[in-house]
Amino acid sequence: MNKVIITVVGKDAKGIIARVCTYLADNNANILDISQTIVGGYFNMMMVVDFADLNCTFDQAQGDLSELGHCLGVEIKCQREEIFEKMHRI
């Protein structure tokens, strides 16, 4: 298991989740959990994804997702899960 957290923050629009999920499926990443909220018209989505069988490098996926976010007018971040786990769990 190589858990990664993907966050998408930005103005709500149609097809954001679809586009991100398509990218992940194409690259053999396994989505474990998705949650989203809309605060003040802003779309906040978090995905827990397993990168264990990813068919490209972490850096490549991070760059591609950031680029995809740019096209969709949102910010997509891709971070290793441990930073959140360490900060919020004893």
């Binding site: 957290i5 966050t7 474990l32 959990d33 949650s35 989203q36 909220t37 906040n44 989505m45 978090m46 827990v48 972490f58 850096d59 991070q62 971040k77 971070q79 290793r80 899960e81 441990e82 930073i83 959140f84 786990e85 360490k86 900060m87 919020h88 769990r89």
Partner: protein
């Protein structure tokens, strides 16, 4: 499993509240580089540093990108050079050659500071220590990334007043040697009492002789995060205030611990310590002074400042120690003037004076830090300021330090711009009365009694 609000909270700390890991500092033992021949010694030093730290900067950048946490500085600390150069340096100029070698090595591996151009003279000075100290002005003037420190006292040994007197003169000479750059050389030179062997922060970082061959130490930061969180508990009791600071310090430190372990694993070098410090930067919102205001002061320096700082410092440690397996270094809130916009404002308003800063150093790390004073301040007065700080450290069994900049050609009312993380500072007034006869006495102040505490 981690939920969305936790993820958003972490990212908000980074994006809006200046959360970062301030430094990954690799400590490198250079004792094996000692040689009777200066050229050989320099070659060995260059080779050891550039080999050991070859991947330091890249590793820091990789971790930063993968976890989404800025790691601001990648640095190196080395064995105090007065030990390494003792066999081959016969003049201060010989030591300057080592400084220039270190500067080249720092540039080669891409770090932004290298600390350890140092001498530990808390009880006495060897010939080598004195040569190194006398080389500091020239070394600071002819290098870019070298930091120098001199430890002049300790709780166990007392204060070496001969070294304190010499350091007053050396600070003045360093100011003069770097006057073209607003005496910036003094910003890279610190005089310490009870200096720790594992400090990752500059300018006082060195790799002590009690350390292993190489070690990874990490300094965490995050005054902006503490300040933001405290805004949500305005008017609440001290219990709530303290609890809030502790929780936040825990979270900040856990990030540091993660980065330290990861850096250690990737570089194949053991993890040493986390330094739990609230280190401000000149960036707006990244200020320790602002936290003091949020705690309830109109301005840093007002009555109550020392108590508020003591509280803050203690809670940061209490929250931080649980988050990390090994805590060390300086660990506490830093109160540099030029690197903290809130401190600068307080000085400019006339609310914060040198004397109040001295009182504040009794309850926090580290000491009088990045303070610009008039260029015509006598060397003996600077020695007196150093002696006062060293006495506070010696008696209270804590680290204290003086990093003070007598800016040549400037006086009270002027301000100096150091640039980057070193920020800018208004020139502060210094007490005009002399302490020359005190400072000019020879010898040392004895170690304090360790009983009958009052």
């Amino acid at each position: 499993m981690i939920n969305i609000s936790e993820v958003l909270e972490t990212n908000k700390m980074v994006e809006q509240q200046n959360l970062d890991v301030r430094t990954i500092t690799m400590g490198i033992n250079l004792l094996g580089c000692a040689d009777k021949d200066l050229v050989m010694c320099c070659e060995k030093i260059y080779s050891k540093i550039t080999t050991m730290a070859r991947d330091l900067v890249k590793t820091g950048e990789d971790i930063s990108r993968e976890y989404g946490i800025p790691i601001v500085n990648k640095r190196i600390s080395i064995t105090p050079i007065s030990l390494v150069g003792a066999a081959c340096c016969k003049t201060p100029e010989d030591y300057v050659k080592i400084a220039q070698t270190l500067d080249r090595a720092a540039k080669e591996v891409g770090v932004n500071f290298l600390g350890g151009y140092s001498a530990i003279v808390s009880k006495g000075m060897t010939k080598s220590d004195e040569l190194l100290i006398r080389s500091i002005p020239q070394a600071m003037a002819t290098t870019d990334f070298i930091c120098s420190s001199v430890n002049v006292g300790s709780t166990k040994t007392g204060i070496n007043m001969d070294a304190v007197r010499l350091m007053g003169e050396i600070i003045k000479e360093t100011a003069e040697a770097t006057k073209e750059n607003d005496s910036l050389g003094c910003g890279k030179l610190v005089v310490l009492c009870n200096a720790p062997d594992d400090n990752p922060f500059m300018a006082g970082a060195f790799h002590g002789v009690s350390e292993a061959d190489a070690i990874i130490n990490v300094g965490v930061s995050g005054p902006g995060v503490v300040n933001s969180v405290l805004q949500s508990v305005r008017g609440e009791s001290f219990e709530v205030l303290c609890e809030t600071i502790k929780r936040t310090a825990f979270k900040i430190t856990r990030v540091g611990q993660l980065v330290a372990q990861e850096a250690s694993r990737r570089l194949g070098i053991p993890f040493g310590i986390i330094d739990l410090s609230l280190a401000p930067t000149p960036a707006v919102g990244d200020s320790v002074a602002d936290i003091l205001c949020e705690i309830g002061l109109e301005c840093a320096g007002a009555p109550g400042t020392t108590a508020a700082l003591a509280l803050l410092n203690d809670q940061v440690k209490k929250g931080g120690v649980m988050a990390s397996s090994y805590v060390g270094g300086l660990s506490g809130a830093f109160i540099p003037v030029s690197e903290d916009q809130g401190m600068i404002n307080a000085v400019e308003k006339g609310c914060l004076t040198l004397e109040k800063l001295e009182a504040m150093t009794c309850v926090c790390s580290v000491g009088l830090d990045m303070i610009a004073i008039p260029g015509d301040t006598p060397a003996t007065t600077i020695s007196g300021i150093i002696a006062d700080e060293a006495a506070i450290g010696m008696v209270n069994q804590k680290t204290t330090a003086v990093r003070i900049i007598p800016v040549i050609g400037k006086t009270v009312g002027d301000s100096v711009v150091f640039g980057g993380l070193l920020g800018y500072a208004p020139v502060m007034p210094v007490n005009k009365y002399s302490c020359a006869d005190f400072v000019n006495r020879k010898g040392r102040i004895p170690a304090p009694i360790h009983s009958f505490k009052n």
